[in-house]
Each structure stands twice: as C-alpha cells, then as structure tokens.
Amino acid sequence: MFEVIFLQFLNGLDKGAAYALIALGLTLVFGTLGVVNFAHGALFMLGAFCAVTVRMFLTMETVTVDPTQLSPWGAPLEIREPLVQAWLGDFGAVLVNYSVPFSILITIPIMLLVGIGLERGIIKHFYKRPHAEQILVTFGLAIVAQEVIKSIFGPNPIPQPMPTDLRGAADIGAWLGMQANVITYPIWRLVYFLFAGVVIGAVFAFLQFTTFGMVVRAGMADRETVGLLGINIDRRFTIMFGLAAVVAGVAGVMYTPLLPPNYHIGMDFLVLSFVVVVVGGMGSLPGAVAAGFLLGILQSFASMNQVKAIFPGIDQIIIYLVAVVILLVRPRGLLGRRGVMEA
C-alpha cells in the first residue's frame, strides 16, 4: 500500500511542478504590478513553441540520394543528414539530441523581450483600470497569441522527443533501499521536477539575496514609498514581468516532451493555474508554489482507482472543488497575507 501511495505522490510531482511554475509567474505579476494576467498561459505556450522552432531549425537536413544503395522499398536510398551535424560534427548530433534543454538558452532572451514588450506596449495602460478590464484585455491577447501560433504551426500537437539518455524509467524504489522494480518513474519527469525546483529556488534567491530583489520586495509592500525614495520602481516591475514571462516560457519548454504542445496548451494550464494561485493566496509566492505541488499531488491521488470507486468523477473536479472550498472558507488562501485581495 505504501508503494502505491508513494507512486501516486511521485506522479503528482511533475504536473504540480508545472502548476507551481505558472502560478509563480502569475503571482509575480500580480504581486508587483497588481495585474491579473490571463495571457500568462499563452506565455507558457509561446515557450513551448520556442522549443518546437529551435528543433525545427536544428533538424534542417540535407537529402542526398545514393543510387548504389536501395531502401527497403526498392527506391534509391535517401541519406538525410542534419545540417548542424554536418557543420559541427558530433557536437551537432548532441545538440539535436538535447534540443529541448538547449532551447532554454534561446527561450530566455525571447521570453524576456516578449514579456517586457507586452508590459510596455499594452499592460502598462491598464494599471489604473478595473480588474475586470485587465482580465478582458489579457484574455484577448491570449486569444491572439493562440491564434497566431495556430496559423503558423497548425492545430495539431507537435511531439518533441526527449534526449535519448533521459528516456526510460528510473527505479526510485531501489535508490531508496526498497524492493527493486516496484516504484519506477520516468526519468524526464524527475528532470522536470528538479528543473522546477532549481527555477523556483533561483527566483526566490534572486528576490531574497540581491539588491534588485530587495527593492522589488520593498515595492511589492509599498510601491509609493519606494518611488518617493527616488527609485525607478516602474522599470524594475517591468523587468519582473519579463522574468515572470521567462519562468512561464522555460516551464513550457521543458514540458514539451511530456505533453506535445498545441496552440491551446496554455489555456488548459492557465485555468488550473489561476485556481492554484487563488488556493495559495493572491500575491503570496510561497503560497503559489506550495499550492501548485499540493494540487498536482491531490489530483494524482484522486485519479487512483480506489478513490474513484468511492467518489466517481472526483479526479475530474478535485482541483476546482478544493478551490471552491478554500475560497468560501478562507478567501485569502493558504498562505495569503491578511488584507491582500481579501474580498
């Protein structure tokens, strides 16, 4: 029984990690700029499609026809060789193999630019307007981003292979000194979980231990006073928006091998992530992370057959159900600060 529970716990981790990353970005934006960003899921999706694009470039190949050899169908054999491999040799092959992690390097500057552009271009004008209008404009932006991606990449999911070394399953049970082959877990999910841990840790460290982070935290607590001290808080908040976009983007990149991205992947995650943010408490970064993992794991437990036998359909609604209960009983969420959005 313990093994089953432990396995479900592990299964919840990767989804929980994705929720936590998106919710973290949402909370960063809400906590700094006070904007409810419905386009945040679209940023996750854009990140995922950065990975798709990078792989498309990396796998551009030359086709040479070798008449001396025949393919199994009897036609002359076509030899395909990725250009990168031709130019860079073995390193190119590694690059193609590791295209998903490699795309992170390219995604970071792109998402930073997208985030800053979005904030300066549109969202800036919505600070003084009601939350409803912020929701509406970002919702519209999300539709636009989604449709642009759809018209470029088509409506079908585009699978991304994971690096060959990281395929297969890890025997976590054996690592922990339990019986072998009882608790196995796909390596890439483990990688995703660790990656999420690193990103979350980095964001917290950035906010906690750098001067920039200190100023941002001060600005979150009292924007006006920080502004009066002669600090250009607006610019720092803009950068935080870019940072939130980067977090969403890299979360999307690393998730592509687990779930082939299509144009509405962002919306699918967004709705859940909002729920996560609310459960964790609006504006609370630790709350967002904790609630992300908590709900991911809860969802995983709810999809156990034993649980479903007692409450049919619970796996479909558990997250929303938790959100409803939390909102009605404790509106500021699990770790929300007193008085922040406590309506």
Binding site: H131, G140, K150, F274, Y320, V324
Partner: protein, 378 residues
C-alpha cells in the same frame, strides 16, 4: 401604452428593436446572412447576451461560467423532448426552471465573494460541470457524442395523446414543426420578450439597486441594505436567460453536447457583451450578432474566394493580399476576433455603443441637426 409605465424613449427603443429584429430576414439578405439557421443563432445568442448583461452590466459581477447554465438548459430541453413530448413549450419551461435552480445554488455560493474571486469561483463551477458532463454524468449527457433525439424515445405525453411520428423526430410548437423561418420567428419572439423584460428590469427600482451594487457595494451595505439577495436575484435571472437560450438552441437543433459548457463558451458571451457595450440594453445583442455573423461569414471565406475578390490587382500583389488576409479569415477568424476585442477593450471600453454615442456627440456638436431619436432607436 401608459406613459407612466414606460417612458417614451423606452417605448421607441422597444418598437425600433422589434422592427429591426422582425425584419432581419429582409435587411440581412444582402449581407449573405438571410438564412434561417444563422438568424436563429442571432436570436439565441442575443438572448444569452442580454441575460449575461443583467448580471455583468448592471451589478458588475464578471461571471466566467455562464456557459454552464446554457448547457444545463440545453440538456434539460433535450430530455424533455425525449421523455415527455416533442412540443417546445414544456422543454423551454423546464429548461428555464432547472437552470434557474442551478443558478440559485451556484450563485448562492459564488456571491459570497466579489471581484476576481467571484470570476474564478464561477469558472471553477462551470469547469466542474463541464468535466462531469464529459465523464461521470455520461448516462445523462451522453458524453462526447452529445444528447440526441431518437425514434425509440418514450415521449410519455405524446404517447398518451396518441401522437405518432414517422421519420426523424423534430420538435414542434403545438403541432407545427419548428424549423426554417418558423423557428426564427419563434426565437425572435422570445428575444423581444426577454429584451422587454431586461428593459423593465434596468428601469425598475430593482435595477437601480443592482446599479448601486456596481458603483459602490460597501456604501450600500453601510446604508443598511443587504445587497446579496439583489445580486443573487440578478444572477438567477441571468442564469434563466442562459438556460432559455440553451433550450432554444436545443429546440431548433436537437443536439446537446458538453462543449457548450466549456469555459471558452463562457468567454464568448463575455466577448459579445463587451464588444457591443456592457451595461447598455442593445449593445450585447449587437455584439452577439456581430460575432455570430463574422463567425459564419469569415470562417466560410477561403483562399479561392479571396483570390477571386482580389483578381483586379496585378499578379504578385494579389497573391500577397490573399496570403495575408487568408490568415485572418477561414480557420483564422478567431485571430480577427481576438484583435478586434483587444482593440475594443483598449480604446473603446464601452464597446460599439460607446462608439455610436461618441459619433453622435460629434455630429451634435458640429451639425446639431442629428436627432437623438435615431440614437434611441439604435
């Protein structure tokens, strides 16, 4: 009509609206929209948007879950058509009642919070209904296939009266099948009635109370009003409107699927209301018409039609135009919708109605001749 009961402007508005709606098959024909299927959709989504506006426009509560009531209305109507009788009246009646009850329960819980929390609560409830309709409730909703009428349905009342049908069962109104223009006028009647009701609500003391909730709920509470019953009534009324619209959709096209309850469907009615003009009476209806019109017209356009349209341009230039515009029509019409929506929210938060008002004001200042009556009849 008694002038004390209804102001002149309101009366003109209602009459003008009635005329415009009833004459739709005529004046929409040149735009390629004069066919009953689309006109029925215009009416149905008009009702949906008018109802949504009673909640969002008057009280300011932004619900992201209204599609749930729409879906419940559809399912109830189809079940009534299956179990009781093919007549539309009981179907609509039960749909309104059931979706109203459903809205009462959900509204009672959701209205404990306001602002963004309210939006997320309604969203959560709607997603729960949608997910359940797809999974556990399959015996009721028929899951992905959607609920359909079949020949072997019991139809207790029809059987008792001795009605028998041959061929595909079609919903009827007192014996006449609802389809084509009959279906349109049936829906149009409901749109006009619901519009009238919405007009009366907006002008009544109850409506004033709702508007007061929108502008300052805290002050209302301090002056001793318990605002929640009022907000809840608005929520239930708009839920009933959504149920009626869903039922009409099921009656004119007897197939109910769970995707009607998805949150994108809730988003659509928000788009309609904002596009037309939130808080105005006519705006949401116009928004619904525009979105449904372009959904049908733009999504039907393809590169061939565009190529013919741009034929007069020199070669090369016309293919360029076709390529560029082709991205915005056909499957890509949602892109156009999204862009228009963003532009509206940024520059014209009051929607099309605010645009009309601004243009009218401009004419008033320069010419001073344009009557306010045309504006009232809009």
């Amino acid at each position: 009509m008694n002038p004390a009961l209804m102001s002149r402007n309101d009366l003109f508005l209602l009459l003008g609206f009635t005329l415009v709606v009833l004459a739709m098959p005529i004046w929409l024909a040149p735009f390629g929209a004069g066919y009953p299927d689309l006109l029925q959709r215009f009416m149905i989504y008009g009702i949906f948007a008018v109802g949504f506006n009673i909640l969002f426009g008057l009280t300011g509560y932004l619900s992201f879950g209204h599609a749930a009531f729409f879906g419940v209305g559809s399912y109830t109507a189809v079940w009534s058509l299956k179990l009781l009788t093919l007549d539309a009246i009981p179907a609509l009646f039960f749909a309104v009642i059931i979706s109203g009850l459903f809205a009462l329960v959900i509204g009672f819980l959701c209205l404990r919070r306001s602002g963004i929390y309210f939006s997320i609560l309604t969203l959560a409830f709607a997603q729960m209904s949608y997910n359940l309709a797809y999974s556990v409730l399959t015996p009721i909703t028929n899951g992905e296939t959607g609920l359909q009428l079949t020949l072997s349905d019991p139809r207790v009342i029809d059987a008792a009266v001795g009605h028998t049908f041959v061929g595909q069962p079609i919903p009827t109104l007192l014996g006449t099948p609802i389809g084509g223009y009959a279906g349109f006028y049936f829906c149009a009647g409901f749109l006009i009635i619901t519009f009238f009701i919405a007009q009366r609500i907006a002008g009544s003391p109850f409506g004033m109370m709702l508007k007061a909730i929108k502008s300052n709920q805290t002050r209302m509470q301090f002056t001793g009003f318990n605002t929640r019953p009022y907000a809840l009534s608005a929520f239930v009324i708009s839920g009933m409107y959504a149920g009626l619209a869903g039922a009409l959709l099921a009656v004119t096209d007897p197939l109910a699927g769970a995707e009607r309850m998805q949150w994108t469907a809730s988003g659509e009615v928000v788009l309609m209301t904002i596009l037309g003009g939130v808080g105005t009476l006519v705006g949401p209806v116009i928004g619904a018409w525009i979105i449904k019109y372009f959904e049908n017209i733009l999504s039907a356009l393809n590169d061939n039609i565009l190529a013919r349209f741009f034929d007069f341009l020199p070669d090369g230039v016309d293919t360029f135009f076709v390529k560029v515009i082709g991205k915005f029509v056909g499957d890509g019409w949602h892109l156009t919708l999204g862009l228009v929506f963003v532009i509206i929210v940024i520059f014209l938060p009051g929607g099309i109605m605010e645009g009309v008002r601004r243009v009218a004001a401009m004419f008033d200042r320069s010419g001073g001749k344009t009557s306010t009556r045309t504006q009232a009849a809009e």
